[in-house]
C-alpha cells in the first residue's frame, strides 16, 4: 500500500558518506543521541508507525 521508493546507488553512497561524517562530527559521546534524533525525524517523515516497526526489526537482525 505504501509507495516503496528506493535510493539510487549514488544516492545510497551519498547517505553512507553523510551518516559517517555526521557520526564523526558528533563524536563518540553524542553518537547515540544523534542517531536517535535522526530515527525520530525519519519516523516522522515516514509517517507510518507500522513501517517504522518493520525497519526497527530489520535493524535488530544480526547485531
Amino acid at each position: 500500500m505504501n509507495p516503496t521508493t528506493s535510493l539510487t546507488i549514488p544516492g545510497l553512497e551519498q547517505v553512507y558518506d553523510a551518516l559517517a561524517t555526521a557520526i564523526d562530527q558528533a563524536g563518540p559521546e553524542k553518537t547515540e543521541l544523534l542517531l536517535v534524533k535522526l530515527a525520530l525525524l525519519q519516523a516522522q517523515a515516514l509517517g507510518d508507525a507500522a513501517r517504522f516497526q518493520q525497519q526497527l526489526e530489520a535493524a535488530l537482525l544480526d547485531l
Binding site: E32, L33, V36, K37, A39, L40, L41, Q44
Partner: protein, 601 residues
C-alpha cells in the same frame, strides 16, 4: 495510649486549629450504639465520603488519629471533576473564592518554551480545568461542613488500633488519649491514606511498581511575578537529566518539586544547605537570582503506581490512597480519591439503608480498581518521560529534548496526561437494552455528566444532588407519561432516591417559539423546583432549555428521549424513546440480587 500532637503544626501562612480529642469517658452513651458506617481518616477523601453518606441520610462516625488538619500543602491541584464532586458536598464555593484557577502548562528546556499545554475551558463548564489551593484549607472547609452535619460524629485524636470482621459488621478497637474503647460498625470505610493502618491490620498488599524516582517537594513564600500556570523544566543545568516542577499557590506560596539524583538519600536531600542551593539555582534559572524566599514545608516522596486488587474486603471498603498509590504527575492523588469516595458513598448508602444488597458494592470495586489500573497505565507514559526507567528510555527522552528546540512535532510528548474522570464504560450498572449506541453525541453510558450553562451563574450540575436522576426530554408536554411516573413511584417505594428532571418544557401559557418562554424562572435559577411551580406533572424539577443547549449537548434529536444518571452523576442509561418498561429494566441494576458470599444488611 494514643497521644496525638497537641501543639499546632507550624506554617508561615496557615493557622492550625487543634481540636479537642474525643474521649469515650465524655460520651458514655456512644459505645453501646453500633454505627451504620465508620469512616477511618479525616483527610480529603474520608471527609468527602462522610459528607456524602450523611447527605444521603446515613449516620457515620468519622475517626481521625490527629487533632488538626494535614501538615504542609500536600495536594494542591484540583480538577474540574473534583470541583463538581466538591460542589455536591457543598464546599466548592469556598474553594473557588480562595483558590487560583488555571489552564496552561509550559514545558521548558534550555531556556526555551518547547511545549505549551492549553486545557480547554468550555462555556458550559462552571469550573476551570484546574484550581490550586493548599490541602489544609480544603480539609478545613470539609471538616467545617462535617462537624456541622448532624449525622456525622467527628472524633479527633482517635486512632484505630485493631479491626475484627464479624458476620454482620466489624469491631474496632479505637485508641484515644485516655486509652482504648470498642466501636462496632456495620461498615468501615478505610480512608486512612497511603500508609493505611487498616490495610496493614487486614494484611493486604498493594500490587504494582513501588519505585519510579524520588522528588523533593518544597513550599516557599516568594514574590514571583509569574501567572498561575504549571511550569516544568527538563534537564536544567543545576540538576542534569532530571525534572523540576513549579506551581503557584495562594498566599504568595510557590511549590517547587525537583527530582533527586538516583544515589541521593532523603536525609541528604532535606539538609537545609542542599535545599537552599537548589532552590537558589532554580530561581536563577527562571531569571530571578537572589530573590528572597522563606521555606514553609518540605518533604520527599517517591513516585509509585500500586493498587489493591479489590477494594471490598468483607465489611471494610477501601478508598483513596488507602486503596491505591498513584504517580503524582498529573494530579492523580486526591482527584482520584474523590471519585472513589463518590462512587462508593451512594452504593454504601443504599446498602446501609437496606435498599440494595451488599452485592451492589462489587461494582464499586470493579469500577474503581479499573480506574486505578487505567490511571497507572496512563501515568506510566508520563513517568517514563519524566523519570526514564532504562537507558533506552533515557536516550529517547534526551533525543526528544534536543529535537524539541527546532522540531515542534515532538512537543506533545511533553504533555503528561492529567487526571480525568474515569468512564465506567463496562460497568455492570450500565443498561443493556437501552439506546446508548443510537446516540451520535452526548455522554455515553458510564461517562461522567456533561455540564450545561442554563443561565447566569446557573449550571445543570448545580441542580443534581445525590439522587438517581431521570433527565426526561419531554418537549412541550405538561406531564411525564403515566407509565414512567408509575415506575418512578415504584422505585421510590422500594427506597431508590429517584428524581425526575423535565427538560425542554415550554409552559402552556407561552408560545414555545418565543425564545425565553414565559413561565416563572426564579431569579438566577434557570430551573423551577417542584412545590414552587410544578409545571410538569411528575417532574421534580423543570429546566426550560429555551435555547436547546441541553438537547444539543446531550445529543437529543427528538422529544421523548431520556438519560438516567446515577447518584454520582455518571450516565447509566439513555434512550431515544423512554417508556415504563425500559426505565424499570435500567433501575433493576441498582438492586442486584444478593450473592452467596454477601449478607443482606
Amino acid at each position: 495510649m494514643h497521644t496525638p500532637h497537641a501543639e499546632p503544626r507550624r506554617s508561615i501562612y496557615y493557622t492550625y486549629r487543634v481540636f479537642d480529642a474525643w474521649l469515650p469517658s465524655m460520651h458514655p452513651d456512644a459505645q453501646s450504639r453500633q454505627a451504620p458506617v465508620v469512616v477511618v481518616g479525616a483527610g480529603p477523601i474520608g471527609l468527602v465520603a462522610a459528607l456524602e453518606l450523611a447527605q444521603q441520610g446515613v449516620r457515620c462516625v468519622l475517626l481521625e488519629s490527629e487533632r488538626q488538619v494535614s501538615e504542609g500543602s500536600r495536594a494542591i491541584v484540583f480538577t474540574r471533576r473534583s470541583m463538581e464532586i466538591l460542589q455536591q458536598v457543598g464546599v466548592a464555593d469556598r474553594i473557588s473564592q480562595n483558590g487560583l484557577p488555571w489552564r496552561f502548562g509550559n514545558s521548558m528546556y534550555k531556556g526555551q518554551r518547547v511545549f505549551r499545554m492549553e486545557a480547554p475551558h468550555d462555556p458550559d463548564d462552571r469550573f476551570f480545568p484546574m484550581i490550586n489551593l493548599q490541602q489544609q484549607y480544603l480539609e478545613e472547609y470539609l471538616a467545617d461542613a462535617a462537624m456541622a452535619h448532624p449525622l456525622i460524629d467527628v472524633r479527633w485524636g482517635n486512632r484505630v488500633a485493631d479491626v475484627q470482621q464479624t458476620e454482620h459488621g466489624a469491631q474496632l478497637t479505637v485508641d484515644t488519649p485516655e486509652g482504648p474503647y470498642s466501636l462496632a460498625a456495620d461498615w468501615v470505610v478505610a480512608a486512612d491514606g497511603a500508609r493505611s493502618g487498616i490495610r496493614s491490620l487486614l494484611g493486604l498488599k498493594l500490587e504494582g511498581n513501588s519505585y519510579e524516582g524520588r522528588f523533593v517537594i518544597a513550599d516557599i513564600r516568594i514574590d514571583l511575578p509569574l501567572p498561575t500556570e504549571r511550569l516544568a523544566f527538563f534537564d536544567p543545568d543545576w540538576n542534569p537529566g532530571n525534572t523540576v516542577l513549579m506551581h503557584r499557590e495562594p498566599h504568595g506560596i510557590w511549590r517547587i518539586d525537583y527530582q533527586l539524583p538516583a544515589d541521593e538519600t532523603p536525609e541528604q536531600a532535606l539538609a537545609p544547605e542542599s535545599l537552599k542551593s537548589r532552590i537558589d539555582a532554580q530561581l536563577a534559572l527562571i531569571g530571578h537570582p537572589g530573590l528572597p524566599w522563606e521555606m514553609d514545608w518540605c518533604s520527599v516522596y517517591s513516585a509509585r503506581a500500586l493498587t489493591l486488587p479489590d477494594y471490598v474486603h468483607g465489611r471494610v471498603l477501601f478508598t483513596g490512597d488507602a486503596a491505591h498509590m498513584l504517580p503524582i504527575f498529573g494530579v492523580r492523588g486526591a482527584n482520584t480519591g474523590w471519585q472513589d469516595a463518590q462512587a462508593l458513598s451512594w452504593r454504601l448508602a443504599l446498602v446501609a439503608q437496606g435498599v440494595a444488597s451488599p452485592a451492589l458494592l462489587a461494582s464499586y470495586s470493579q469500577e474503581r480498581v479499573g480506574a486505578a489500573r487505567e490511571i497507572i497505565d496512563e501515568a506510566g507514559k508520563s513517568t517514563r518521560f519524566m523519570t526514564p526507567p532504562t537507558r533506552g528510555f533515557r536516550l529517547l527522552r534526551d533525543a526528544v529534548l534536543s529535537l524539541s528546540l527546532t522540531q515542534p512535532f515532538v512537543g506533545p510528548l511533553y504533555h503528561w496526561r492529567t487526571s480525568r474522570p474515569h468512564e465506567y464504560t463496562h460497568s455492570t450498572l450500565n443498561a443493556t437494552g437501552d439506546d446508548n449506541l443510537l446516540f451520535k453525541s452526548g455522554p455515553a453510558n458510564g461517562a461522567p455528566p456533561q455540564n450545561v450553562r442554563l443561565g447566569p451563574d446557573d449550571f445543570l450540575l448545580d441542580h443534581l444532588g445525590h439522587h438517581i436522576h431521570l433527565l426526561w426530554f419531554g418537549g412541550h408536554a405538561n406531564a411525564v407519561p403515566a407509565d414512567i411516573q408509575a415506575e418512578v413511584a415504584r422505585a421510590r417505594a422500594a427506597g431508590l432516591p429517584v428524581r425526575v428532571v423535565a427538560v425542554g418544557f415550554a409552559a402552556q401559557q407561552a408560545s414555545p417559539n418565543c425564545g425565553m418562554n414565559g413561565f416563572a424562572v426564579g431569579g438566577a435559577n434557570g430551573g423551577v423546583e417542584a412545590g414552587a411551580s410544578p409545571a410538569v406533572a411528575g417532574a421534580d424539577l423543570v429546566l426550560p432549555d429555551a435555547n436547546g443547549q441541553m438537547r444539543q449537548r446531550y445529543g437529543v434529536p427528538a422529544h421523548g428521549a431520556a438519560y438516567l444518571l446515577r447518584p454520582d452523576q455518571h450516565v447509566c442509561a439513555r434512550w431515544m424513546s423512554l417508556d415504563g418498561h425500559r426505565l424499570a429494566a435500567a433501575l433493576r441494576a441498582f438492586t442486584p440480587l444478593p450473592t452467596h458470599s454477601s449478607q443482606t444488611a
